[in-house]
Symmetry: C2
Subunit: 210 residues, 2 copies
């Protein structure tokens, strides 16, 4: 079971690594990090690079495709070769998934037309203009397409996927191995629970995650 | 504010990347991934490498030290140069933190003597034999030392740290940016909530996280 995670400049590290830590533990999983050019790919914050081991051109028929988001999405949306690759790869998959603004890339590739999908809260409105039906749920399944909200939501998405792929017992075992028993010290992780003025100021700050 | 994250072969990706995604967003944060030899460092699962941009020898006085865990800890515990570096670096810090079995490395360096600390549930008992006082809490603070339980607990630890370093408002803003509003589909993330037979079978499987 090949799991392809494409990287591009300015992706968000946790978008990729959260689901990776879950999905790579599935029985028979073979994860491939890939990019247009193999080698280190810098994340949005510049201080971390993940290695893409293979060129995209060598990864054409994954069983699972997981697309991370991040501010780099803005440039990636104009990368026709990447969008072509997404279309080709998605045609082969059992599951095609995204985290955060990765859903905008799937939408730009025409893969979410008429499908319910989610994204980072600050990017969610863009989905409607790209043919998808935006949902503010944390994890959205529509057919073989699974999309997650911002950044950390990829962990929840991956556990859902793990259950569907390998069954609840294995998914629970993976959850216990990564000790995913979240206890955030604040309840500010969604726009429905965070202080309203915080949401307003972040929207006004020009925070770019798409 | 320099934040040093040392990498070593066989570390667990999310141990490092979870806290990174939080701490790197603090005002004035400069994150440095470092290793004995700079370059790509493979995680425990083999299918991912993170780039260490600097040699440990060039990062000697970080403000914050964050040590990831993983199965590679077993070999790292015998790496005297790494333990020496941990002692040197920790002498300079405002905060010294670990995720998962990273606390065993801090303990082996003599930094947790008589201190309360936590670790991955399967490694927790080892801490007592290394001079620390094990606690099964998810995040434990004792003086300037902060330790987290397994893998995903590093995200919670980092939000606690963010609040102490920069205040609750900034920590909450970061939580909202990474949309950390966890909604795991199962309640199997700790040994107190997971099915008992699952805990037993994982213990018996020889799962190595220390």
């Amino acid at each position: 079971m090949q799991i392809a995670i494409p990287l591009y400049d300015g992706f968000t590290a946790l978008d990729a690594v959260g689901p990776y830590e879950i999905l790579a533990r599935l029985p028979g999983a073979e994860v491939v990090f890939a990019a247009t050019r193999p080698g280190p790919v810098r994340t949005e914050l510049g201080s971390l690079a993940l290695t893409a081991d293979r060129p995209l051109s060598e990864v054409t028929a994954p069983d699972i495709l997981l697309v991370p988001g991040g501010p780099g999405t803005v440039e990636a949306l104009a990368d026709q070769a990447l969008l072509d690759w997404l279309r080709t790869a998605a045609a082969a998959t059992t599951w095609t998934a995204s985290v955060c603004s990765g859903s905008l890339l799937l939408a730009a590739a025409g893969l979410l037309n008429g499908r319910r999908a989610t994204s980072h809260w600050i990017a969610l409105d863009h989905l409607a203009g790209m043919g998808a039906i935006p949902s503010n749920e944390r994890v959205v399944f529509d057919g073989k397409y699974a999309t997650a909200a911002g950044v950390s939501a990829g962990i929840d998405l991956a556990l859902h996927l793990a259950g569907r792929i390998a069954g609840d017992e294995i998914a629970q075992a993976i959850q216990l191995v990564v000790e995913y028993d979240p206890q955030p010290p604040y309840d500010a992780g969604s726009i429905s629970t965070a202080p309203a003025e915080l949401v307003t100021s972040l929207r006004a700050s020009g925070l770019v995650v798409q």
